[in-house]
Subunit: 144 residues, 2 copies
């Protein structure tokens, strides 16, 4: 796969990633390290164990990185406009992500780069949206 | 420490967390699992290794969870308005977080709960801001 520069992207283009299934043991390991609260670390908690939202965020990063929406260019996030977890992720759930290009604009300060706003929507095996993230990425323009 | 309900919080109140130092090995382990791009996984990359932004996000979650701004109540994030990484996190950096209550409002749909907007600002050992996150949290009201 080749590099995909700012000029190669189109508003509205979509990329579907692979999928990942999240075993309870991985969920617990992440939560015990980074988000040690009962709803994330106690398999017998009332209401049932749910993944740390930051675990979901990290797994989605992995799926998107592997799907290479910029070809061989890295995905360098400058920030995120909005991030939501509308439904919990449960042990054994499988998630898959669709990434859409929402906006493309050249940088005002650096003529070599531009800013691409993406929206990544993660769904579980029932088609329910479990996570939405809208990052702004720093993308090089095609060298002249 | 006791539970801190919606009525116990005040706009403007601040919580300073403990700090964490991030060894290169941990940075690499996280990146290889969740964000396998050269700037996060290759110690000899041009410009120097930087942490995955999602690693920083997860470490900040841990610092905030340990600081217990809601006492014994869990911190349940519904979503995040904005998230930024203004400066890179480098191997061996030490980060510390200040959390401020920005807004408090009762839920319209559930009279037992309210929504608290927090802003967590992470700084490195030089006082530079490396990460800012503005979560909206679901907080119970004091039982009557």
């Amino acid at each position: 796969m080749s590099d995909r520069y700012l000029e190669d992207l189109r508003v509205g283009e979509k990329t579907l990633t692979g999928s990942v299934t999240i075993p309870e043991a991985e969920m617990l390991a992440f939560s015990r390290q980074f988000d040690p609260q009962p709803m994330h670390t106690d398999p017998n908690v009332e209401g049932g164990l749910i993944a740390s939202g930051w675990h979901t965020a990290a797994l989605v990063m992995r799926l998107v990185a592997d799907a290479r929406p910029l070809g061989n260019l890295p995905i360098l996030g400058m920030g995120v406009d909005n991030l939501a977890w509308p439904q919990p992720v449960r042990p054994g759930d499988t998630i898959q992500v669709e990434t859409e290009v929402l906006a493309i604009r050249p940088s005002k300060s650096q003529p070599t780069h531009g800013i691409v706003k993406l929206r990544s929507t993660a769904r579980n095996q029932h088609g329910e949206v479990v996570y939405v993230v809208t990052p702004n990425c720093w993308v090089p323009r095609r060298p002249v």
